[in-house]
Amino acid sequence: MPNMSVKRNVMPTQDPNVRSKNFDEVALGYTEEQAIDEAKRCLNCKHKPCVGGCPVKIYIPDFIAKVALGQFEEAYDIIAKSSSLPAVCGRVCPQENQCEGKCVRGIKGEAVAIGRLERFVADYHNKNCTKSPVAPPKNGHRVAVIGSGPSGLSCASDLAKRGYEVTIFEALHTAGGVLVYGIPEFRLPKSIVKKEIEGLEALGVEIKTNVVIGKTITVDELMSEHGYEAIFIGSGAGLPKFMGIPGENLKGVFSANEFLTRINLMKAYKDDSDTPVLHAKRVAVVGGGNVAMDAARCARRLGAEVYIVYRRGIEELPARHEEVDHAQEEGIIFKTLTNPVEILAYNNPNDRRDPKNMSVCGMKCVKMELGDPDESGRRKPFVKEGSEHILDVDCVIMSLGTSPNPLIKSTTEGLDTQRWGGIIVNEDGLTSKAGVYAGGDAVTGAATVILAMGAGKTAAEAIDKYLQSK
């Protein structure tokens, strides 16, 4: 008999007043009882729309049925057939737009909490499973994967399971890509990423850090000198965008990438860190996506009063609802329909050597109004006349998205890219160069972890076919 409660089981979380002062994980995860209770809300309906909503096509009702029976390891095995990073996806996927957005229970109530169940199952497995994955026999083919973010990890995982000798090349000193430098500890603990990567290494995947493809080794050299027969480029998004307004290069203005990298990858939030980060009093984060929420919540945890400055309305925020809710609970103030026009500099007229000179001392903004929908379908904002005002801040974090990294494009002859820099691929992830595949943000521009994983999976399948037919 299914559980017909219209409400899903509430996710236990750290109290907002406590968590806004620490970097520990916000969501604490279901208990076994809560997971079983929630799993019983699934009707196991005939059409399984949730599976269609999942970019990697996890057999969702099947794993949930196992959870309902308390067979958590069996549930894990079902998820693992489709996803190589369930503990990550259960935490950071925008489920409301994917599996849960399609759930039949969502029509007359709340959708089954599929993401929370996925997280529960993955955490249960990581905590209780003692056997590490066994590397399959090698098939003698070598594949290079560029970048150890979500697309690279999922591509490498699928290829390794098929017996390929896979090497991942990572430019930074730690594997994980955006999962370690971008997404904060309180949303995705780094120990979880580490565990997933160790699982990959147990499958026989070799990870080489401190290698910048395009600089240390080129794509062509990987094939001609290093003996790789196929390549997957998952180099991610690159250069952070700025607005082009006066004052953006003042001290105290950061890209979200820089601010988050200092905190997440370099652990600058810890007192004994060798890497500095600005502990500002009042911070404006410009932008409304998940990255903006992450940056704002990090700044809050460093002790600042934080504003999200976004030119459209609260309804138009591209961030996940849960992230917006969490940010609001933590005391972040949303200045929507507001757009910066200039960042103001401190200048001591009496002391040219005052170290505070050329630091941020405010941000001039205008109020916006919403007009008709633009080509993206969102209502286009325009400036409300006479609405200029100054926001009193000493730090500005620009979170406006990124454009693809030019390093690979500029050093790989014959690799076609879009005008804006994204690598052009066909439906299999194949680029304009034979044997070279690509996926994730390097192809799409900034998107989600799960879409990147889906692209890595698709490319792995295509690489397998390509090398088997060669």
């Binding site: 600089k215 240390t216 250069l239 001290k251 990438n257 170290p355 050329m358 990294n405």
Partner: protein, 280 residues
């Protein structure tokens, strides 16, 4: 892990290290940089390549002990290892077609200017090297520069080494004396490069300055190294590190460069105290 195969003190605060990093050595060119970490918890710092040996598979770095990380780095000995060493990053110095160049280095910047001078000299370019230091004890690479230039001018602030004066004085004297340079390449403290560029602008001589701003990844991801050049924002790590000196906003670069001044002083003292404890 990357082995330190050679270590030498060039002066009391400047250290040379040769690091085993074959992949980096294979590709490195003058003007490019590397990023290193001393240990698993360390900060990432960029250092410009001072030399490389493709056969030995080594890259030489020369650094001044200015902060906690360079202090820690200076405490590592030959035979020990760096935790991380990645590169070569940035674009190489443009040297093609240059017939006569003045290379102007200041302080530890001379270490970076040296491979540039060497490359130019080896390709048959007439190189005038002007190297400035505060005082005699800080002079580095004197013989190396003499062997890589047709004219070597040493200047010091206090007159204890070479002529008394600034590199700009020496450069001005050469230009006024009728030397015609295709290009001036300057590497050193921002304030020095600023005044070199102001001088050469008067004479209309193309000038390239090598920048070394705050940086984390060094591959175009963080944007921390951005500079204003010709009114446009550029990223030193992928667009540079060398730029047209007449277009660089040096005042902005100087302000951004000291953004973490207080933190660095604090961490430096902590590193020194740790060192003292270990010595005891």
């Amino acid at each position: 892990m990357y082995k330190i195969v050679e270590k030498r003190e060039l002066n009391p605060t400047v250290v040379l290290m040769e690091i085993e990093a074959p992949l980096v050595a294979k590709k490195a060119e003058p003007g490019q940089f590397i990023i290193l970490r001393t240990d698993a918890e360390g900060e990432r710092i960029p250092l410009t390549v001072a030399d490389f040996d493709r056969e030995r598979g080594t890259v030489t770095i020369i650094f001044q002990i200015v902060g906690a990380t360079t202090k820690k780095l200076s405490m590592l000995e030959k035979g020990e290892f760096l935790h991380d060493f990645v590169g070569p990053l940035g674009r190489a110095t443009h040297t093609e077609g240059l017939k006569k160049v003045a290379v102007v280095g200041g302080g530890v910047g001379c270490a970076i200017a040296y491979p540039v001078a060497k490359k130019l000299y080896e390709q048959g370019c007439e190189v005038h090297a002007i190297c400035g230091f505060r005082t005699k004890d800080l002079v580095i690479l004197e013989n190396e520069f003499k062997n890589a230039s047709s004219k070597y001018v040493l200047v010091s602030d206090d007159g204890t080494a070479g002529e008394k004066g600034l590199v700009t004085d020496a450069l001005k004297k050469l230009i006024e004396g009728g030397e015609k340079y295709d290009e001036v390449i300057t590497i050193g403290p921002l304030i020095m490069m600023k005044f070199v560029c102001l001088l050469t602008k008067e004479y209309g001589i193309k000038t390239v300055a090598s920048m070394n701003p705050v940086m984390i990844d060094g591959t175009g991801m963080c944007g921390g190294c951005r500079l204003t050049v010709g009114g446009k924002t550029v990223f030193a790590c992928v667009d540079g590190p060398e730029f047209d000196g007449h277009l660089i906003d040096f005042d902005e670069a100087m302000a951004r460069g000291n953004a973490y001044g207080e933190f660095e002083r604090h961490r430096y003292e902590a590193a020194c105290n740790l060192f003292k404890k270990e010595v005891k």
